[in-house]
């Protein structure tokens, strides 16, 4: 009986899970103009270099376009060359499943102009080629518009980030451990004499 209940529960859960969809990216209008201080092909160092991002509403749009705009979230996104052969960075139209933009830069309340943010590239950003995208959210925190530093095909204004290697601290620990190992080996050899 318990098994049947469990199976029924999982069936119900799975139906519920299947019914939740995210917003579709292709339905979002590109209403923000976003630009960054990076130049095409520039290489930035994680943990050291800074990027300044500025964004504003496209003034050629009719008034009232931004009536529902509440927050702007800036994200660092992978360019197609860094998505190749890496399924965990795949672009999907369903924004719930989309993995293009995995690194948050900042979230700020929306304002139509004079927006700027300087970000120090964080130490956990991997080596890859990127662009920056800004998503506009309404009060229900759903995406309703966007803007990005690159073109529709994601080919222009791309920049590279070089990650930290993460190796320097380990060297220190390793030396200590090697000494310990050495002592252990000597001890075994001495013990071995008695055994055989």
């Amino acid at each position: 009986m318990a098994v049947q209940d469990f199976l029924l529960a999982s069936l119900v859960l799975s139906c519920l899970a299947a019914s939740s969809y995210g917003t579709s990216f292709s339905s979002l209008p590109a209403t923000l103009i976003v630009s960054a201080s990076t130049k095409q092909g520039q290489v930035l160092k994680a943990g050291e270099d800074k990027i300044t991002v500025t964004w504003s509403l496209n003034t050629s749009l009719p008034a009232g376009t931004d009536s529902a705009y509440k927050t702007v979230k800036l994200k660092l996104c992978y360019a197609p060359v860094s998505q190749k052969d890496r399924g965990w960075r795949k672009t999907e139209d369903d924004l719930e499943k989309d993995k293009t933009c995995q690194h948050k830069i900042v979230a700020q309340p929306y304002s139509p102009s004079n927006n700027s943010f300087t970000w120090t590239v964080q130490k956990d950003v991997p080596t890859a080629t990127y662009f920056i995208r800004a998503y506009v959210h309404n009060s229900a925190d759903e995406e309703i518009a966007y803007g990005q530093t690159t073109d529709v095909h994601k080919t222009t204004n791309l920049f590279k980030i070089k990650a930290i290697s993460g190796r320097h601290v380990s060297r220190y620990c390793l030396c200590l451990l090697l000494c310990f190992l050495y002592c252990v080996f000597v001890w075994i050899l001495l013990l071995g004499e008695e055994e055989i």
């Binding site: 999982s10 859960l13 993460g166 190796r167 451990l177």
Partner: protein, 472 residues
């Protein structure tokens, strides 16, 4: 019992470090800029190294005993685990995982050690417990490594440094266990192998004879194939499941690790269950029961693997994964309930060959189904299940003249006794020197594999048994 615990713990430690990278792959792949094929190839490499090392360990066990083999492997792999901290490229990652994978040879020393320290009627259970608790390392590592990573990160390290430092813990464990095996272990019930060989109580054997005996026994190859689809599949899953749950169901690294861990942790009970079921079946039906149990659980494991590949929701995926893990791991336990009876003379080598087959299968499966973008991971799981079901059928062809097979009873013609089966592994010269005594002792012990049917009078002693003089 001390040797029992040393055997399974040393194997457990090796499982931990071989699969230590798997739950951390989402961090490692960003640090080293890996592609899916880099990750897949490293996973293949991690289980391929031990194809060779398990064979070598089998020989070492037969010739110089499991204690030395086990201790040396642990002590040699420790520096490699420490060196993971220095990896800077996909190639380095591959080489490190390949070399750490050599340590899975301790599976053979573990099973060999327990096979010779315990009596045959409980061999399935003992081997199953030792093997299962060791395999559990593959599950524990999915919890341990993300936990260590998190603790180190919280104490101030960046993610790309934290994962490197986390590897020091398994490295230390190898050193400690290697030392313990050397100082506290014992090869045989009567003492250590080298001492017994010097005293003349145990014969020193010849490698080429041991090898020939193993490869000319067709049963060795059936189990080489079969184990691919219980253990091989398990090894493959250890490498891909955390990443699969992380990517497919959008879970946090920690959560994916927990789920993946339940797969490996099921070994705590599932593999012993397989061994125990094998022993229980043997009590009533003898070896035929053992063969049937193996076929049943391994096929069920394959079926649930197919279900896992097709599951679209998290809860169904977890359910099918747990059932699949029980089936596959019980099959591993059931396999090693049979292996000790395939040969006495070449027990180590056959254990090694079967174990190597498991790894070969794991590597091949990972390469074919999980290293390219041709199949999604979900479809890869489904096809792997299909192959497991198909390739379990050959167990029906394993026939022991003295005990029978799945569909046929023991051969009726006379001269088919346990003694004749096991002494046929030695030629006349060797029998004259009395080298086959260990095998005869085992043969008598193994009469329990007849099951409840005991018509063949145990009183009939085969020629040469009592007339060979006791040599000092």
């Amino acid at each position: 019992m001390r040797s029992f615990h040393l055997a399974w713990i040393s194997f457990f430690t090796c499982f931990i470090s071989t699969f230590a990278a798997a739950p951390l792959v989402p961090i490692i792949r960003d640090n080293l800029n890996l592609t899916r094929s880099d990750i897949g190839n490293a996973g293949v490499a991690s289980v391929s190294g031990s194809i060779f090392s398990r064979l070598v360990m089998g020989v070492i066990c037969d010739l110089i005993g499991p204690r030395y083999g086990c201790a040396f492997v642990n002590l040699l792999v420790a520096p490699v685990v420490f060196s993971v901290a220095f990896i800077s490229s996909a190639e380095g990652y591959l080489v490190a995982r390949f070399m750490i994978g050599f340590s899975l040879a301790t599976f053979v020393s573990c099973q060999y050690w327990t096979s010779i320290m315990f009596t045959s009627s409980i061999i399935g259970t003992v081997n199953g417990v030792a093997g299962g608790w060791g395999d559990m390392g593959g599950g524990v590592t999915q919890l341990l490594m993300p936990f260590l990573f998190h603790v180190i990160k919280v104490s101030g390290a960046t993610p790309f440094t934290a994962w490197r430092i986390a590897f020091f813990i398994p490295g230390w464990l190898h050193v400690i266990i290697g030392v313990m095996v050397m100082t506290m272990g014992q090869d045989l019930p009567d003492g250590n192998l080298s001492t017994l060989q010097k005293r003349g109580d145990v014969a020193k054997d010849n490698f080429s004879k041991v090898l020939k005996n193993a490869v000319t026994n067709y049963r060795t190859w059936v189990f080489f194939l079969l184990y691919r689809f219980s253990m091989g599949v398990e090894l493959c899953i250890n490498n891909v499941i955390a990443e699969y749950f992380y990517d497919r169901f959008n879970l946090k690294l920690h959560t994916a690790g927990v789920i993946a861990a339940t797969f490996g942790m099921a070994n705590f009970a599932a593999r012993p269950l397989g061994g125990y079921a094998s022993d229980v079946a043997a009590r009533k039906f003898g070896m035929r029961g053992r063969l049937w149990i193996l076929w049943i659980v391994q096929t069920l494991g394959g079926v649930f693997c197919i279900w896992l590949g097709r599951a679209n929701s998290l809860s169904i995926a977890i359910t099918s994964m747990i059932l699949f893990s029980i089936g596959a791991q019980a099959a591993c336990g059931a396999t090693y309930g049979i292996i000790p009876f395939v040969s006495r003379r070449s027990l180590g080598l056959i254990s090694g060959l079967t174990g190597a087959g498991g790894n070969f299968g794991g590597g091949l499966t990972q390469l074919v189904f999980f290293s390219t973008t041709r199949f999604s991971t979900a479809n890869g799981l489904m096809y792997m299940g299909v192959m497991a079901v198909a390739c379990t059928i050959p167990v029906a062809f394993v026939h022991f003249p003295q005990w029978g097979s799945m569909f046929f009873p023991a051969s009726k013609s006379g001269g088919n006794s346990e003694e004749s089966y096991y002494s046929s592994e030695w030629n006349e010269d060797e029998k004259e020197k009395g080298l086959h005594h260990g095998s005869l002792k085992f043969a008598e012990n193994s009469r329990s594999e007849r099951g409840k049917r005991r018509e063949i009078a145990a009183a009939v002693t085969p020629p040469g048994y009592n007339s060979t003089p006791d040599h000092v």
